[in-house]
């Protein structure tokens, strides 16, 4: 019974993945005009010569905030975990 259910789920997953791959839009034809808009207007709107910086810090700033949060969490975790043993013994 479990094998049959697993087989069916596996077939559904394979069908889903194959369908998604077939439905993907053709290479080289962007689905939106977002990139053209950013290339043409980034310098005027954000005053940046570096369009990549204007995307990273302005148009997609929320992503950068998440990235900074990930770095902050990683540093906090490393500093919390890599303490020597003696401080633990003093407290307990």
């Amino acid at each position: 019974m479990r094998r049959v259910v697993g087989l069916i789920l596996w077939l559904v997953l394979v069908a889903f993945l194959v369908t998604v791959v077939l439905l993907i839009h053709p290479f080289g034809y962007p689905p939106s005009d977002m990139d053209d808009y950013i290339i043409e207007n980034a310098q005027e709107e954000t005053g940046n010569n570096n369009v990549v910086a204007s995307v990273v810090f302005d148009y997609r700033g929320l992503d950068t905030l998440g990235e900074a949060t990930i770095l902050f969490t990683a540093v906090t975790g490393v500093l919390l975990l890599l303490r020597a043993e003696k401080r633990k013994e003093e407290n307990s």
């Binding site: 043409e40 310098q43 005027e44 709107e45 954000t46 005053g47 940046n48 010569n49 570096n50 990549v52 910086a53 204007s54 990273v56 810090f57 302005d58 700033g61 929320l62 950068t64 905030l65 900074a68 770095l71 902050f72 990683a74 540093v75 490393v78 500093l79 890599l82 303490r83 020597a84 401080r87």
Partner: protein, 153 residues
């Protein structure tokens, strides 16, 4: 601790590494690079010092308290700049058109003006501060942990 030749060369070279990292951070809105990349350059200089000297020597000057304050300051400045544009939308570039970093360059290729970019140079500085402090703390803590020690408070 490595030989005297390596230590002397590292001592002279760290100045150029720091200047290059600060250049990459400060010109993030004009040339390729930015806060993350320039911070990584500076941290590579710190790692060079850690290899040439020893992590025990560096832990006297790179205290946990200093690094924590630097990282938190960078994160707070970044979030505060993001919230400051909340009058329009989150992460709005509200400094464009003002005297501070507010000049607007002509569209297309141009030599570049340092006082452009709005909040983006300030955000690059904040992120650079954060990356320098955070990655230095991580590398130093890992190097000290391998010897059974810990980063000093």
């Amino acid at each position: 601790m490595l030989s005297k030749i390596v230590r002397t060369v590292a001592n002279q070279l760290i100045l150029f590494v720091l200047v290059f990292g600060l250049y990459v951070i400060a010109h993030g809105h004009l040339t390729p690079g930015g806060g993350f990349q320039g911070g990584a350059v500076i941290v590579s200089g710190v790692v060079m010092l850690m290899v040439a000297f020893s992590s025990q020597d560096l832990k006297k000057s790179l205290r946990e308290r200093l690094l924590t304050i630097m990282e938190s300051t960078g994160a707070l400045i970044f979030a505060a700049l993001a919230f400051a544009g909340l009058g329009t939308v989150f992460f709005y570039n509200f400094l464009v058109g003002t005297p501070i970093f507010g000049r607007i360059p002509p569209t297309g290729s141009n030599p570049g003006d340092f006082w452009t970019g709005g909040v983006i140079p300030l955000m690059n500085l904040a992120v650079g501060l954060k990356v320098v402090a955070g990655l230095s703390a991580v590398v130093l803590a890992l190097a000290l942990f391998a010897r059974g020690e810990e980063i000093e408070e």
